[in-house]
Point group: C2
Chain length 390, copies 2
């Protein structure tokens, strides 16, 4: 009985933390979404002439779908089941036209689509939002790559207080997936807020976070190159330096630029690297080719491509076992692998761990629920970053 | 005849500069918008069940409206008249639901709404896009305001090469309107591309551009404060430091932070300031209250509020004539006023110019076409910035 009361109290406390958020930029306008105190979320859209309206989203329940119902004034409404704390993306399907929520001004682009967003608080998503803590700064800078023969863009998070003293900081390199870019970890990963909050709460060391662009055939994110709005992502074109290993082999250019430009501690003990999906493959191959560079390695839902590895035609991916064995000898302090149970890449990740064991390379594995989703990559960050530079 | 041939050749050259842009992130998807070589633009949306589809945009012809027509496959299409070179924003109205173009991944938030965007090249908009030139960097930083008792956010553009030498730079302070924020000049004004391009073409001096947040009751842009997505803009709440003059009076806090943080030339001869709409009122009042601070002053479609000025209750706005007369004595090198002929604020701007003349303050006036629009503010920047620090 006592245990039940404690459990209930815990539920009540965490429910009260998920305070209601009404998204409506202008007073008097329709509110949508409305994040209710019980962690359900109500969506509304004014579409009197529509025949059918659905919400299409990335929560787990009912496959993220909700059928909206119309009232007498033509306002369609739908309330979700209780949702776990997270940042969610969604769109409305109005008679087959799929687009953002017309009254929610907050959106994110993910690959080629734009989504409306909201947060359900009272848990992990509290770390994704802005709190009244000291804020770090973000710099959008261009470094020169001799290998690519181009200036290329990266985003750099510097912790609060950076530059006010001569303090030098460890560096965490954080890589995006295919379809992403140097903005992805800021916009979809909410990484500057996560860093501000974890540092303010004493949960991680103050550190620099470097987010380069991993599409080596591109200089920067979609719309930020001289292709401008005619930009096509590299993953639609296997000739455009997609999986040719050049990004991985040229990675010391990025590390050298960062060490020359920022107040870093420029040694292996103070360098970490992680990446999601394609960025996980990049992380695997960068650390395999440069075994003395990073002490902390994270693969998030890694897009390990054993077909390319076994072919061995790409220099960066050749002699895979030998490289893993050599990395094992340098004894990195943490090799952390995470994947969702519903992720199609789980099998390749299990195969990778077998290869690591065979080559004497130790790792820690975290299996989460869900699939190939940003919710996993944000939550992996909350787990991985506190382990760095301790 | 020869004159006609020259004129025709000029038209052909500038048409060929407006090269076709097909916006379609993934191959094989519907293309929309398609910017045609003749500077017309074709929009498409797949909506077989819709009864009526319109384009709602900010070009001048037909009030920016276009009625789309459906083909046998349910694809609606509309082609605009020939458009002038600019960046345009638009949405689709599908049976009364107004939202972004579902297949165009490029959007901008303006006040509380999200719009799809595109560019028509071959003119001013070429300066708004990314070219193969050296790029400056952008820093998103927080300064402390003692007056607001808060950390507040600003964006700072630093020209290419900044920090590689001990070079010191002049500073241009650039202010947004009500409903805008510290991101507005970057996202809607395209100012980092304008600066990169003007500097690369030798059309302006290399300079630092500082974009603070002018909503003094807010710490940062919508979604970037601890209100998170429940953010309401200050202009919906006259108690939230909207037009109370505190932003203007506290402006030396920003200048002091910038001079202490960046490689600036910290004197009047190397400082410029301009603002649009509410930011024009801010610029007017900052320079009136601090007559020794800026040598170059720009008011873009300035929201001059003579009701508040005549009331004289707000300290920053009191003794207006005396302050203008004092500013006249300091003899600023350039006082540049611009307004669109269709702008409702034209009358207040004319009244302002009369007051300036009465108080001996010289100015240059530029009357453009159009109204209270970003197209004007971007084009004013192309005119104002080359005049600075010469």
């Amino acid at each position: 009985m006592k245990a039940i009361l404690v459990a209930m109290a815990t539920v009540l406390v965490s429910l009260s933390m998920g305070a209601q958020q009404n998204i409506s930029f202008r007073e008097g306008k329709l509110v949508s979404p409305q994040v209710n105190n019980d962690r359900t979320v109500t969506f509304r859209v004014n579409a009197p002439k529509a025949k059918s309206v659905k919400v299409l989203a990335d929560w787990e329940q009912n496959g993220g779908q909700g059928v909206m119902k119309k009232d007498k004034d033509g306002i369609w409404e739908y309330t979700t089941p209780q949702l776990l704390s997270e940042m969610y993306t969604y769109r409305f399907d109005v008679d087959g036209v799929v687009s953002i929520d017309p009254v929610n001004p907050f959106t994110r682009r993910d690959v080629g689509n734009v989504f409306s967003i909201f947060y359900v608080g009272g848990g992990v998503a509290d770390e994704y939002q802005v709190k009244d803590v000291d804020h770090g700064q973000v710099r959008t800078v261009w470094y020169h790559s001799n290998t690519a023969n181009a200036d290329r863009r990266m985003n750099v998070y510097l912790p609060a207080g950076y530059g006010k003293t001569d303090n030098k900081y460890p560096v965490f390199y954080l890589l995006h997936g295919s379809g992403g870019d140097e903005n992805a970890w800021l916009e979809l990963g909410n990484i500057s807020r996560i860093m501000d909050n974890l540092i303010a709460e004493g949960k991680c060391e103050p550190m620099i976070v470097v987010m380069p662009n991993g599409n080596f055939g591109k200089q920067a994110a979609a719309g930020e190159t001289s292709e401008n709005l005619s930009y096509k992502p590299v993953m639609t074109n296997f000739l455009a330096h997609y999986k040719d290993g050049l990004f991985e082999l040229a990675f010391p250019e990025i590390v050298n630029y960062v060490d020359a430009t920022f107040n870093t501690i420029p040694d292996k003990a103070h360098r970490a690297i992680a990446g999601l999906s394609m960025g996980g493959m990049h992380t695997l191959m960068i650390t395999a080719n440069y075994p003395d560079m990073f002490n902390y390695i994270g693969l998030y839902s890694s897009g390990v491509d054993f077909t390319l590895i076994e072919k061995g035609e790409v220099p960066a991916y050749a002699n895979f076992d030998g490289k893993l064995a050599k990395l094992a000898q340098t004894n990195p302090k943490l090799y952390w692998i995470a994947c969702g149970s519903a992720d199609g890449l789980m099998q390749a990740n299990r195969q990778l761990m077998e290869r690591m064991t065979k080559n004497g390379l130790k790792y820690t594995f975290h299996e989460s629920s869900r699939g190939h989703l940003w919710s996993n990559w944000r939550q992996y960050s909350l787990m991985f970053i506190p382990q760095l530079f301790k």
